[in-house]
């Protein structure tokens, strides 16, 4: 075994100079959110590698303050904004301005400003750069914002000063109803863009009091911003995709508000030929309870008759809500509901016919019906 020991001596210098990757946790700044904006009007006279295109805002939390301990820092969060030609140079720059090194291993929210979304090249480079180096995980939530992302993250939020943490808690909570926004992870986002070329990401916004709202969506096609979807359109999309959960539906039944709470919803898209043309039907199956209704003797809902009527009214309302998304997507001519993908999966031969024309008008003319089946399981403990 003498040789073995000799070899050990050979690698000893390696080991002694080692620990290349070791950094103490308290010597890292754990970045929780990343806000990417487009730099204002680059100076075109400079060469391309010196032209700043990104404006990235880092919210650097003070770990001590964050966990309620004493700390030398004044605020919970220090905001540093950089302007740089690439994300790597931006990190380089921010590290000259901070006491510790930066780590993105816990980044929870990637907030993209409006300007970035509208610049196809910049958007694509940004995503590529983030994923290539495994700098951020694929399970980071992506969010769009109208206006500047940097300003949004800098704004005071009375609930939680760290936006990334807010977003993490928001989407980690599985009990939360899914009504106006669809969570989007970076990995899934790029996958959808690779598969169909169309994807959405939720919008995050904040009002004057600093109350944050996550609703609506930005519609992206081929790495390019197309339109903002408002929250009703997103709800329609959620209906079509069968992801609605814990959402109240209000109808007018006998001049009274009746609230129906959706517990579970499923969706199936069927295709069939009708008069030589293909058309699709979106079948929605909804299960839920009636939760609010002022019943009186003549307005008793605890009988088959009333339930039937209510069901009908509910189905109409849900059809209307779902159709909002269908109408929107048709008017834009962009299939963000995944009808084309479903067709490719279920009717690949038919898809071959539509494939080339789909985004060039074929989708606009494609007939889509929405048909819902409502199931009232419970009316509460009152009659």
């Amino acid at each position: 075994m003498g040789k073995f020991k000799g070899l050990l001596f050979l690698i000893l210098p390696f080991i002694l100079t080692g620990c290349w990757d070791s950094v103490e946790l308290n010597e890292r700044h754990v970045i929780l959110e990343l806000a990417i904006d487009k730099a204002p009007m680059p100076d075109l006279s400079k060469p391309i590698n010196e032209r700043p295109v990104y404006k990235i805002t880092y919210g650097i939390p003070d770990i001590g303050k964050l966990s309620g301990a004493d700390s030398l820092a004044e605020n919970v969060k220090t905001t540093i904004t950089t302007q740089s030609p690439s994300i790597a140079t931006s990190i380089d720059e921010v590290e000259t301005k901070t006491q510790n090194t930066i780590t993105f291993s816990h980044a929870k929210a990637l907030i993209l400003g409006e300007e970035v979304l509208k610049d196809k090249e910049l958007f694509q480079t940004a995503l590529d750069s983030l994923l290539r180096d495994m700098r951020v995980g694929r399970s980071i939530t992506v969010l769009a914002t109208k206006g500047s992302a940097g300003e949004l993250t800098q704004a005071d939020n009375p609930q939680n000063p760290i936006m990334g943490m807010y977003v993490m808690k928001y989407f980690n909570n599985k009990e939360r109803p899914v009504s106006y926004a669809k969570g989007q992870l970076l990995g899934n986002f790029t996958k959808e863009l690779e598969d169909t070329g169309v994807s959405t990401m939720p919008i995050i916004s904040s009002n004057e009091e600093g109350i944050i709202e996550i609703s609506g969506a930005a519609l992206i096609k081929d790495y390019e911003f197309v339109a903002w979807l408002d929250k009703n359109e997103v709800r329609g999309e959620l209906f079509v995709e069968g992801k609605i959960k814990g959402v109240p539906i209000i109808i007018d039944y006998k001049d009274q508000h009746l609230t129906y709470m959706i517990k579970e919803q499923q969706s199936k898209i069927h295709f069939k030929e009708n008069n030589g043309k293909y058309e699709s039907t979106i079948d929605l199956t909804i299960k839920g309870d009636i939760t609010e209704y002022l019943s009186s003797e003549n307005k008793n809902i605890f009988n088959g008759e009333s339930i039937k009527e209510i069901t009908k009214l509910l189905e109409e309302e849900i059809n209307r809500q779902a159709s909002v998304a269908v109408d929107k997507s048709k008017s834009l001519g962009i299939d963000f509901l995944g009808i084309g993908l479903e067709m490719y999966r279920k009717e690949p031969k038919q898809w071959e016919i539509y494939k080339s024309e789909w985004n060039k008008g074929a989708y606009k003319d494609f007939l889509i019906h929405v048909d819902s089946t409502v199931n009232i399981q419970n009316t509460g403990i009152l009659e």
Binding site: L7, G18, W20, S139, D195
Partner: protein, 366 residues
Amino acid sequence: MFSHNGKISVRQVEILLILQMFNTSILLLPRIAANHAGRNGYMLPIAALAFGFIYLFCITTLTNRFKGDTIVEFLPKIVAKPIAYLVLALFVVKIIITTGLEIRMFGEMVSQVMLPKTPIEVIILTMLLTTAYLVKSGIEATARMGEILLYFIFLPLVIVFALIVVKADYKQLLPLFETDLMSIGKGAFVISLSFMPIEFMLILAGLMKKQEKTRQAVLIALLAIAVIETIVVILTYVGIGANESKRQIWPVLTLMQSVQFPGSLIENQEILMMTSWVFSIYMYISSGIYFSSLMVSRALKVRRENIFILPVIPIIYFVSIFPESLIDAYKYYMSFQYSFGIWFLVPIPIVFILIAKIRKVGNING
């Protein structure tokens, strides 16, 4: 009592073969499959079994003819000694180069996921030395190690795969059967090269206790690995999509990245999943080192069989640091598999079977 004759049981051979085939190529597999057959790539491992059976047949026919002998002993019986030793030398060189490239790919992966700043030479060298510690104890210890590592490799994988299975969106596999047969065949051949470690049977068969069961052992290993490969490909496709698999260099790693553990017990669990790969590649490398040194020492008729283990290590090390970058390493790795992977699986065994038949050497009935 346990006899110390350097022989291992049928089950140990099966496990060794499974672990050897479960190497870096599995991590690349979904990408290769997607490139050849798109979203139907999951059919390729099963189709590749056809090729696998050919390899199995060629190699076991040759080894069954010479029961109790490894390639080092039976080759000189078939042809003249100079030719036999030339072929043996080629085989050793091939094993060394494959092992070197394998450990380079492994080092790149570790460097990417775990230790970005650590020099890759250190990663490779520490791995090689850890491997040397095992193989110096001989084939029985190696086989036992394989049995133990089986638990450590497949238990985490089963847990993660179970998570993916529950959450996955299987619609992504639709539509079925839309790839043409030609590309399936081509893809199946490429995938079947991941069965390359079967060639170790040329040596392992001589170290088995129940020689009559070589065919059964290889068959079971082949079936097991084909099933595992299919599962890996399917889950990668439903996890990250076939198109994304094409884009990623390590699609399986990306898959592990996108899995989310319930209750957020661990984040970024792809690092934890590296455990499985580190362990399985350890077994592959240990086989590479062991068999190459075993062949040299048996050919030179040295009494102590583990004497060439340490000299082999620097050679493998230099092979592994030869490629200048990941791109080079990947290129060498793939092209070496394509151009030299098949030689010891089919052509060379067939040639020697024919010569043996003509010269009527070995066990004719076998």
